[in-house]
Symmetry: C2
């Protein structure tokens, strides 16, 4: 049996700026990664940890659009929402709020670097307005959702479902 | 003759975070300041320096909406656009891009502190992802537009036009 092993996502706290960067390589084209982040029927299948289900409440992935989804685990529901500042072939810029802490807003930028040979590197940055907020997020266990989510996306890509 | 003198806006570079804060007191209620920032027919009358005219291209001031306006000076036109992450009675959170430098995006948060006696303090913060970008903005002469714009808003408030 051949298994394709991917490195885990590299999650880094930027030293001087209250920002988290995530870098992750995929066996995908930039167009597929853009679709994985903008098509709600694909996005809901991979985002977040394995322990939650995702439902799209509203989703309008264009410059000036907005989005909201919920995660459900047992009887608990968590909401997330934001607006799309820019949705273009080269990058996505959007805002993000977890409704459990509605005062917190991050500005997220994703770019897709074509590595050739059908591989693409995702560069994601999340900017917030304080180091305290950034570090609380980093210590919340967010890497579980990031890595489990991207592993689901790997499987969708392997199944040609993106 | 009695003149009402306002202090100029206080524009500060935050030391540790790539953010600019602006603080400015107005003879206005919080509701009036919210309206001044969300009603496009009012907003276009005061935003920016005296030397430009403002036209609204599109404007949907609600959570999840978006906006674009242009400034015209002589034969030159400058575009600005963004999305509204949150428009509530307590605050406005929106993105902002000057289209002359489209890769730059700031996350803007405005709150309105009721000082009593019909006075309100505007707190505005603009967060960007680098100190270089922040400092270039600060040294661009942006204080002229800020102060001339707020002086126009003072006059609209004095004329009961807000």
């Amino acid at each position: 049996m051949t298994t394709t092993k991917h490195a885990e996502a590299t999650i880094e706290a930027v030293k001087d700026v209250p920002m988290i960067t995530i870098t992750r390589d995929f066996h995908a084209t930039p167009e597929q990664l853009l679709r994985a982040h903008t098509d709600p029927e694909i996005f809901k299948q991979w985002v977040g940890p394995d322990s939650v289900g995702t439902e799209i409440d509203y989703w309008d992935a264009r410059t000036g659009g907005s989005w909201r989804f919920t995660n459900t685990r047992d009887d608990e529901e968590y909401g997330f929402h934001g607006s799309f500042h820019e949705v273009g072939p080269g990058r996505i810029v959007q805002t993000f709020t977890w409704e459990g802490m509605p005062e917190g807003v991050s500005l997220e930028t994703m770019t897709f670097e074509d590595l050739g040979d059908g591989r693409t590197r995702l560069h994601s940055q999340s900017l917030v307005d304080s180091f305290e907020g950034r570090d609380a997020w980093l210590s919340s266990g967010m890497e579980v959702g990031v890595n489990e989510g991207y592993a689901k996306l790997d499987r969708l890509l392997a199944d040609a479902a993106v």
